[in-house]
């Protein structure tokens, strides 16, 4: 049976609720769960002051309500599932190494910071810094998948070292900034300065994009790795068209101010004018 938490009192300020993670809840009764401590602004509070708890923990956790002020949901989880019905707040799945989080709604900023494995699915939009390196740190996610069906804000995948980030809608500026490796796929449009400081890794986009002058065109081709990736995303429900699967892509390599070993792949049909 699933452990269900339904928000009965919306917090007025953000609630730090890293306890909302399957590993922390396993083996606890509903009553125990309601007594778990959370940080409410600068006060300590109990989960039960905000959530009605039913069911018992068996590795699956279902959260319902407007959780846009609930932070750190699924933090540090290594296994199990978290289902969120409604919008969810910042630092979703921080430091997670396994398991799955599915949000039927929007997610706040900083989805999956310090993530090393597992999967985060956001059916709505996500905020800024999806899978990004925390401030001061050079490395973003080191593994796992973040799948955003809607749009995402600035700095998607900043500093990421490994893993897959897919965005069904548009990305704002600086997608894949300072990426070390890994793959970012954007089905909508890229904002400004995508791939700035890219060392290695791939940024794939299906719409025209104005790239930095430190990116240089190398060829137009069908990247062999891309088809299985796109098939995989189609299976997961992303709107991958046949044109994307079968099309050719312009390969732009960069960032020349760094190693110049990264690439931005732009679907050729969508590119404004293929260089000579």
């Amino acid at each position: 049976m699933t452990l269900e938490l339904t928000l009965h009192t919306a917090p007025a300020v953000p609630l730090e609720a890293e306890v909302l993670s399957p590993a922390r809840l396993s083996g606890l009764s509903g009553r125990d769960v309601a007594k778990l401590g959370v940080v409410y602004g600068n006060q300590r509070a109990e989960l039960g002051e905000f959530f009605r708890v039913t069911g018992s923990a068996n590795g699956e956790l279902r959260l319902t309500g407007d959780l846009s002020r609930i932070k750190q949901v699924g933090a540090g989880m290594a296994a199990g599932r978290v289902l969120v019905h409604g919008p969810v707040g910042m630092h979703l799945g921080a430091g997670m190494s396994g398991g799955e989080i599915i949000v039927e709604g929007d997610a706040g900023d900083w989805v999956g910071p310090d993530m090393t494995g597992g999967r985060i699915v956001v059916r709505g939009n996500a905020g800024h810094m999806v899978g990004s390196a925390c401030r001061g740190s050079a490395v973003g996610i080191r593994g796992g998948e973040i799948l955003v069906f809607g749009s995402a804000g600035n700095e998607v995948g900043a500093g990421m070292r490994r893993g897959l980030i897919a965005v069904g809608g548009d990305c704002a500026d600086f997608a894949g900034v300072n990426m070390l490796a890994g793959t970012v796929v954007v089905l909508g449009s890229l904002g400004w300065r995508a791939g700035a400081g890219l060392r290695r890794g791939s940024i794939v986009a299906m719409h025209p994009a104005e790239l930095l002058p430190t990116f240089s065109y190398s060829c137009t081709y069908q990247p062999p790795f891309l088809r299985p990736y796109l098939h995989y995303l189609r299976r997961l429900g992303f709107g991958i068209t046949d044109a994307m699967l079968d099309g050719t892509y312009q390969r732009w390599c960069g960032d020349a101010v760094e190693l110049n070993r990264g690439e931005v792949l732009l679907l050729d049909a969508a590119a404004p004018s293929a260089p000579n």
Binding site: C134, R135, G136, S137
Partner: protein
């Protein structure tokens, strides 16, 4: 002030008073050590424990513009190490460069009750004092960077030695500093003025000045001795971190020629050189350096040991940081170029497998083990440069526990060990008495702080009580009790009170006429008005002036 207190049954290590582990009572009245305490005084039973004066750190970086920049440059260091508030103490962040509050509490939690910030630009004095005001529990002070001051250079160049001394005294007064500090004398000024220039030899001409580092160093040593400062000029030699810099260090010490001088973090200045693949690799010259200091009682030094793990290189030696940035790997920053000095910062990790890092670690230990006079070769890691002050307990264990040291020597880069002399001096073990000297009594004496570093009658009641343990790292990491000015700050390993320590500074006498020389220089070059420059007493609400020798003698003569 704290109430009366009696500490009984403890084994007391008080080297300044020749007490070597004798069981005796320590009495406290009104924040000072007293001959007796009233019968109703609170008693601490220290049976099975070791009683020492509070620790005194003679060289660390804990406050001011460059320290704050080092905090800003590495938020990742703080995120991992939150310092929570307790009923008595405030919250903060840790890492290699803790926030002000955490710095004070963490020093206190190690049994330290005084620490000196070792490098503050004169323009940064106000900021530094504000941060020191927020650094709780411990007593503190700072050394002011005067070794690259254009006006002082001009006076020297024109042979105006008297005015040079008055101007130095004015600057010490204006900044409320504790001692003058030289950092790479001549180097910073060249670095800023001559496009990444630096000085490599003590007889090189300093850019546009008709001066050499040698003249500058000599002049400061002379002036500081003439002013009778409680702590002599504190010197960070030229060529920090360069292979073969031991010669520069020896030459610097020779300039002192019998006069007092303190050489900072001397481990970083004790390198020989051997041809390597791309450039000369460092080797150890610890034996030469230690031998010179052993035979020259006018010289003192703190070791600046390197400990493996995270550190933050943080120095006023901007060109050295520019040189070291290639080894840091990630971020680095230069700043304070608009001040009368410079600064550079690199977050850094010392690794036992890396040749240079292992060599630095070995040289630090060698210097300790080859020193004949623990009063003059005292304890430091140049926090956070060689490692955080929180690594002191481990360093103490390395000095006290030969077997542990051998275990560590077995895992470090062996080629580095071959190029050090650590294997030749590995049998020595420091005693608790010697540890009490290098961490307390010695630094206090070198600083000229008469009421610190000992437990004689009249001393500040700064007392640390450790539970004896075979594992010295464990023992020194968590004292059972820490008393500051007689107040029980830590009891049973937990904070029981907060406290604000003193800010020590000097106020040497000078001829007021020197202001007529200094003021026009401000009008021409400074972005701050002369009359707004000097730090006033509001910035040192807990300030205490430590007299110069002349002032102390005059006060003694005036006393009936």
């Amino acid at each position: 002030m704290g109430s009366s207190l009696r500490i009984i049954n403890g084994r007391v290590y008080d080297p300044a008073n020749g007490v070597d582990g004798a069981v005796r009572d320590i009495c406290i009245r009104d924040g000072r050590i007293a001959a007796d305490a009233p019968p109703d005084a609170k008693t601490i039973d220290a049976r099975g424990m070791v009683v020492m004066p509070g620790g005194v750190d003679i060289h660390c970086h804990i406050a001011g513009p460059k320290v704050n920049l080092a905090r800003k440059v590495q938020p990742e260091d703080h995120r991992r190490d939150v310092h929570p508030r307790t009923r008595f103490t405030r919250s903060g962040t840790g890492g290699t460069v803790p926030s002000t509050f955490a710095t004070g509490y963490r020093y206190a939690a190690l049994g330290y009750t005084a620490a000196m910030e070792a490098a503050v630009t004169p323009l940064g004095a106000r900021h530094t004092l504000e941060e020191l005001h927020d650094t709780p529990v411990i007593d503190k002070g700072f050394y002011v960077l005067v070794g690259n001051s254009v006006l002082l250079y001009r006076l020297l160049q024109e042979g105006r030695r008297e005015e040079f001394r008055h101007a130095l005294a004015w600057w010490l007064n204006a900044t409320k500093a504790y001692a003058p500090k030289l950092v790479n004398p001549g180097g910073d000024e060249l670095w800023k003025g001559q496009g990444h220039g630096n000085i490599t030899r003590l007889d090189d001409k300093i850019g546009p000045f008709d001066l050499t580092p040698s003249t500058v160093i000599g002049a400061f040593i002379e002036a500081a001795n003439e002013l009778g400062l409680p702590h002599p000029v504190h010197i960070h030699c030229n060529n920090l971190g360069h292979s073969g810099n031991a010669d520069t260090t020896l030459e610097t010490m020779r300039i002192a020629d019998g006069r007092r001088a303190h050489i900072a973090h001397i481990q970083f200045h004790s390198y020989g050189s051997v041809a390597g693949k791309s450039h000369d690799n460092p080797t150890s010259r610890a034996r030469d350096i230690a031998e010179y200091i052993n035979t020259h009682p006018n010289i003192s030094a703190d070791v600046g040991a390197v400990m493996f793990g995270r550190a933050t290189i943080m120095t006023a030696d901007a060109p050295a940081v520019y040189m070291l940035r290639q080894f840091g790997g990630a971020k680095w920053v230069n700043a304070d170029t608009e001040h009368e000095s410079g600064c550079g910062i690199i977050p850094f990790t010392y690794q036992d497998r890396v040749y240079t890092n292992a060599l630095q670690w070995a040289i630090g230990l060698e210097l300790f083990l080859l020193s004949d006079d623990p009063w003059r070769m005292v304890f430091s890691t140049d926090h956070p440069n060689g490692g955080s002050f929180t690594s002191y307990p481990r360093l103490i264990r390395l000095l006290m526990d030969r077997e542990y040291r051998k275990e560590q020597m077995a895992v470090v880069n062996q080629k580095a060990l071959e190029h050090s002399g650590l294997r030749d001096c590995q049998d020595r073990e420091y005693s608790l008495y010697e540890i009490a000297i290098v961490t307390r009594a010695g630094p206090a004496r070198l600083l000229g702080l008469a009421s610190k570093g000992h437990l004689g009658v009249g001393a500040d009641a700064d007392v640390t009580i450790y539970e004896e343990d075979a594992d010295k790292e464990k023992m020194f990491a968590a004292p059972r009790y820490v008393l500051k000015d007689g107040v029980v700050i830590i009891e049973d390993h937990e904070f029981r009170a907060d406290h604000e320590g003193r800010v020590y500074h000097v106020a040497p006498d000078y001829d007021a006429g020197i202001e007529q020389v200094i003021e026009p220089f401000f009008d021409d070059y400074y972005t701050i008005q002369f009359r707004n420059y000097a730090v006033d007493d509001r910035y040192v609400p807990h300030g205490e002036v430590v007299p110069t020798m002349q002032q102390a003698a005059a006060a003694g003569a005036a006393r009936p």
